[in-house]
């Protein structure tokens, strides 16, 4: 029996090659896309879960609302870890990470600038699950001046030799040399930090300071098994009272009660370790966080994709099945019951699904490298890493096969043999309503995705063409020029004298990409107690002209004024925040420095607001101080400058100036664009999935058009006999599908508008969702639908009516 079913199934597939190809290909693409997205989402959700204690680990963060300025810091003060372990018995372990930036390390004649160096507490490797290949996790970092490194770093410094016990020293000599006391494989990709060198916290003096007035330490706690972190979080206000209060009174002269009375808030919070990757919105963190919303969006797309493919499958199977009414009739006459027929048809769809699954796996193997490349992911389809995959896939085959096969199975098996054999069945006409509904749903999703993609790209275009208040084109950033030490001035002169260069400014502060950042709390006037949080940029006299920032009032900094070291220039937002919408020039601002002495600055100029942060954020108050700093050289080039020639020359000069490091440089416009990588990635992925969805939906439409045309052969014949032209018949057949597509548009537009409006809320500066986006999406989808359907319609319309009417 089963053999007969299989035989019939394969013969049917073979006989209806067109249908089979559409069916299997559509389903395979649907399954492949769904699986790739599932791998992606699974990877996003897996962050930090490799830690054995992940489910009871939290990170402490700090939140404040001081004089209306909100802050949310992923780091806390040095004593927090130790204090919490001492004060709260439910805290089993506490450990800290201090990101140490980019120190330059030396071993023998090898030296490298490391960008993944951190000081960590001695219990770090007992808290995080990063097994040591060499060394002892419990003792490796107890001593000062010890370091645990990854295998890759060991190889870089020591080649194939043994790393243990070797001494790595700091180029700048500020820190003592470190002895390698442990080697780990590497930090997993799905970790929220990616350090390569872990030095012992004991070698970092700042870690022992008892200050509660600044925060630089990422602090993690391991809680007792089954302890709810919310309960601990509720106790944290005491910490503020008990420890920050006295220190605040000592340095700022106000009590915590007074501070709070003014409406200020300071608080500690806890964040589960596994939430760090997807639920963080800190100004800075150990790695670029993911976004849970994207995980949701992509999961939805995966589900839709699979649904669309199943709908196609169902639609096409039902359509094709009506051709087999005779077979059903004969089988019934020969004694087959309804049950056997249902079994037979379900078996067929399950066989097809299985074929599609195999094809889908092949597609994934081919597409995954491309996807990884486009989306900068590192996904693999690996059955050993995902042992659940095989049962999940088998279940998928059965479920999809059943979903797709059930309707045709139950529909066909209910045919009455006599009617079938007398070909009285108006085959499939009844189910047209259901199938139209399914087509509407498919196109609803397609249009939704098209509109979303267009909105994302429109916003990216807006970002690229937005007037930023500074000129990002033809600006070369020579990075880390401070490394040249005393030679930097000569190097700067040589750059400035190059005929291709318009101007040069030295500053570590760059409006796009990696930049220094320095909060600056100041008061308007000399005696005000009002404190306003601003951002301070240390710049020279060429900064404003080099970046093409517009000076609205007053003057630029100048070396001719001996007093400019206490002059500042404000942006419009700062002037407004201080209450000087007009006439800010000549006013003074003041602040208490770290030693508690008052510093007074006088405002010499006001510049137009420029976007020194991403367009996600409103422009905030900015104070520029005249404090030449050689962090980077910002170089404005002539519009026709020969850039490769210049960079070659600069690299040579750089080496001549005595640097062992190669010159690193970047272009301001590229740095700017890189700020929006997440959005670009989103746009790209949406675009790809929109394309795939449309493709699969069109396969379905094509099949349905083919089926409908076949259904209506006789009608088309009659109409042609009565004088209908090919164009008229084509139009008639296409029109019905266009109506479906239009209904989809009407349904999809408001949903798309709502969703994308929400997405755009993330940008303080955004492009409007204008009517043309909808118009364009509508036109695109209609054209695609017309193209898909008209092929079948024309074919049907061209057919000789004699043949269609002869089938009596």
């Amino acid at each position: 029996m089963i053999r007969n079913y299989f035989k019939i199934a394969f013969r049917n597939l073979w006989r209806n090659k067109g249908f089979s190809v559409i069916n299997i290909l559509g389903l395979a693409i649907g399954i492949a896309t769904c699986l790739i997205i599932m791998l992606f989402v699974n990877n996003e959700l897996s962050y930090d879960r490799f830690n054995k204690k992940a489910d009871r680990m939290v990170r402490v963060y700090f939140q404040g609302d001081v004089q209306g300025e909100k802050m949310k810091e992923s780091t806390v003060m040095p004593p927090v870890a130790q204090t919490m372990k001492a004060d709260f018995p439910e805290v089993e372990e506490a450990t800290r990470i201090r990101d140490y930036g980019t120190p330059k390390l030396v071993y023998g004649n090898k030296s490298f600038k490391e960008d993944a160096f951190a000081f960590v507490d001695s219990n770090f490797f007992q808290v995080f699950t990063l097994p040591l290949l060499q060394g002892d996790a419990r003792t490796a970092l107890i001593e000062p001046n010890t370091v645990v490194i990854t295998k890759a770093v060991a190889h870089k410094y020591f080649g194939n030799g043994d790393a243990m016990g070797k001494i790595i020293s700091f180029k700048d000599g500020k820190n003592s040399p470190c002895k390698v006391t442990g080697v780990i494989e590497k930090v997993p990709v799905n970790s929220h930090f990616h350090f390569e060198l872990f030095a012992s916290m004991a070698s970092y003096p700042e870690s022992k300071e008892p200050t509660w007035m600044y925060s630089n330490f990422y602090t993690y706690l391991v809680l007792q098994k089954g302890f709810d972190y919310k309960k601990l979080e509720a106790k944290l206000p005491n910490l503020v009272e008990k420890y920050i209060g006295p220190q605040m009174f000592k340095t700022m002269g106000i009590t915590m009660a007074e501070f709070k009375e003014k409406g200020n808030v300071l608080s500690f919070h806890l964040q589960p370790l596994t939430d760090i990757h997807l639920h963080s919105d800190f100004a800075s963190d150990l790695s670029q966080p993911g976004d849970i919303r994207y995980a949701y969006i992509f999961s939805a797309i995966a589900l839709f994709m699979l649904l669309i493919a199943c709908i196609n499958f169902m639609n096409l199977s039902t359509a094709a099945a009506s051709k087999r009414a005779r077979e059903v009739g004969i089988r019934k006459v020969l004694g087959s019951g309804k049950r056997e027929l249902i079994q037979q048809f379900l078996l067929e769809t399950i066989v097809i699904t299985a074929i599609a699954l195999v094809l889908a796996l092949v597609l994934i193997y081919l597409a995954l490298p491309v996807f990884n490349n486009l989306a900068t992911q590192n996904l693999t389809l690996n059955f050993t890493d995902h042992p659940l995959l095989i049962p999940v896939l088998l279940l998928l085959v059965v479920v999809v096969g059943f979903l797709a096969g059930s309707y045709p199975a139950f529909y066909l098996s209910s045919f009455k043999p006599v009617e079938v054999l007398k070909s009285k069945i108006k085959s499939g006409r009844k189910s047209i309503g259901l199938r139209s509904g399914l087509v509407v749903f498919q196109f609803f999703i397609s249009i939704l995705l098209i509109v979303c993609t267009l909105v994302v790209y429109n916003q990216l275009f807006y970002i690229q063409h937005k007037k930023l208040g500074y000129d990002k084109d033809k600006v070369l950033i020579l990075q880390d020029t401070w490394m040249l030490g005393k030679n930097v001035e000569a190097f700067r002169q040589s750059v400035k004298n190059d005929p291709r260069v318009v101007s040069v400014s030295g500053s570590g502060y760059v409006p796009a990409g990696k930049s220094n950042s320095n909060n600056f709390f100041v008061s308007p006037g000399e005696n005000s107690t009002q404190m306003i949080k601003t951002l301070r940029y240390d710049v020279d006299e060429n900064y404003i002209s080099t970046l093409g920032i517009q000076l609205l009032e007053g003057r630029n900094f100048s070396r001719q004024f001996g007093t400019d070291s206490s002059s500042v220039i404000l942006n419009e937002a700062a002037a407004t925040a201080f209450g000087w919408k007009q006439g800010a020039v000549g006013k003074t601002i003041s602040r208490l420095n770290n030693e508690g002495r008052k510093e007074v600055y006088s405002v010499v100029g006001v510049i137009r607001d420029f976007h020194f942060r991403s367009l996600h954020e409103r422009i905030s108050p900015l104070v520029m101080a005249f404090s030449p700093d050689q962090g980077n050289l910002i170089v404005k080039l002539r519009s026709n400058a020969d850039i490769p020639g210049l960079t070659t020359l600069l690299k040579k000069r750089w080496t001549e100036a005595g640097s062992e490091e190669p010159l690193s440089y970047s272009f301001l416009d590229e740095r700017y664009n890189n700020t929006y990588q997440a959005e670009q990635k989103m746009g790209l992925i949406l675009g790809i999935f929109a394309g795939l969805t449309i493709f699969v939906a069109c396969l379905g439409l094509f099949g349905l058009a083919k089926f409908t045309a076949a259904q209506r052969t006789k009608e088309i014949g009659i109409r042609k006999v009565l004088g209908a032209s090919v164009a008229q018949v084509t139009g008639m057949l296409s029109k019905e599908f266009l109506v479906l597509v239009l209904i989809s548009c009407i349904l999809a537009f408001p949903v798309a508008w709502w969703a994308m409006n929400k997405w755009l809320q993330d940008f303080a500066y955004r492009a409007a969702i204008s009517w043309w986006i909808f118009a364009l999406a509508g036109i695109v989808i209609v054209l695609i639908a017309v193209f898909t359907v008209s092929f079948q319609a024309i074919k049907a319309a061209m057919a000789n009516p004699v043949k269609s009417l002869r089938t009596e």
């Binding site: 009608e715 014949g717 009659i718 004088g723 000789n800």
Partner: protein, 225 residues
């Protein structure tokens, strides 16, 4: 009106060659009522399709109204067909999704008659066929005889010069069949040329002339009037 000389039509499949019309010649004058008879497979339907400009011939000449139409392309044939020829089929071939009125209206739409004129014409012909009261019904709601009356109405609504009827009574009982035959006779008396394929000697007797076919050729002609 119709002059056919040495008409040939051969159907080819991969292995078999079937000669449907074998150098067939015949002539039909304007206002005639001709019945074509013969056993199954003798080429009657093929002849009717070629006469109706639904199909083309492989060889020979076909002059319709003084014009050689044998070599017309499909578009020209369609143009000629919709203005000059009406069809009545054995199985009525009404469109199930359209009402009686809409079915009859179709040929007028395709010949580009204005809406207002269409209404007058359709109503006139429905009246004449005595199915006005059924104008808003769907074909399935009608009896066979009524359905064939609708089909005849549809065939004549455009005032064609020629009506081609393919076994018009084949699916009807005898009383309904007679009714349809009388309708056709009336139309013929009003000047419409009719060519009818039939198996029924009874029906054939309504015509002026019977052409008998065998193996793609005419074998005899009986003139009845």
């Amino acid at each position: 009106m119709i002059k056919i000389k040495d008409l040939e039509k051969i159907y080819r499949t991969e292995e078999v060659e079937t000669i449907a019309l074998n150098k067939l010649s015949m002539e039909v004058k304007e206002g005639e009522f001709v019945a074509v008879m013969g056993p199954s497979g003798c080429g009657k339907s093929t002849l009717l399709n070629i006469l109706g400009l639904l199909d083309d011939s492989d060889n020979g000449s076909f002059i319709f109204n003084g014009v050689e139409v044998g070599k017309f392309n499909e578009r020209k044939r369609a143009e000629m067909r919709k203005h000059n020829i009406g069809f009545v089929f054995q199985s009525f071939n009404l469109i199930d999704e359209l009402t009686v009125y809409e079915n009859v209206e179709l040929p007028l739409i395709y010949t580009g008659v204005k809406t207002a004129d269409r209404k007058a014409k359709v109503e006139a012909v429905l009246d004449k066929m005595k199915i006005m009261h059924r104008r808003n019904h769907y074909p399935q709601q009608l009896s066979g005889g009524q359905q064939q009356r609708v089909a005849v109405a549809r065939a004549v609504v455009n005032n064609p010069k020629l009506i081609l009827a393919d076994e018009p009574t084949g699916n009807l009982d005898s009383s309904n069949g007679n009714e349809v035959m009388e309708l056709l006779t009336d139309l013929n008396e009003q000047g419409t040329t009719i060519i009818m394929v039939t198996h029924s000697e009874h029906d054939a007797r309504f015509s002026h002339r019977i052409i008998r076919m065998l193996d793609g050729q005419t074998v005899t002609e009986n003139i009845l009037v």
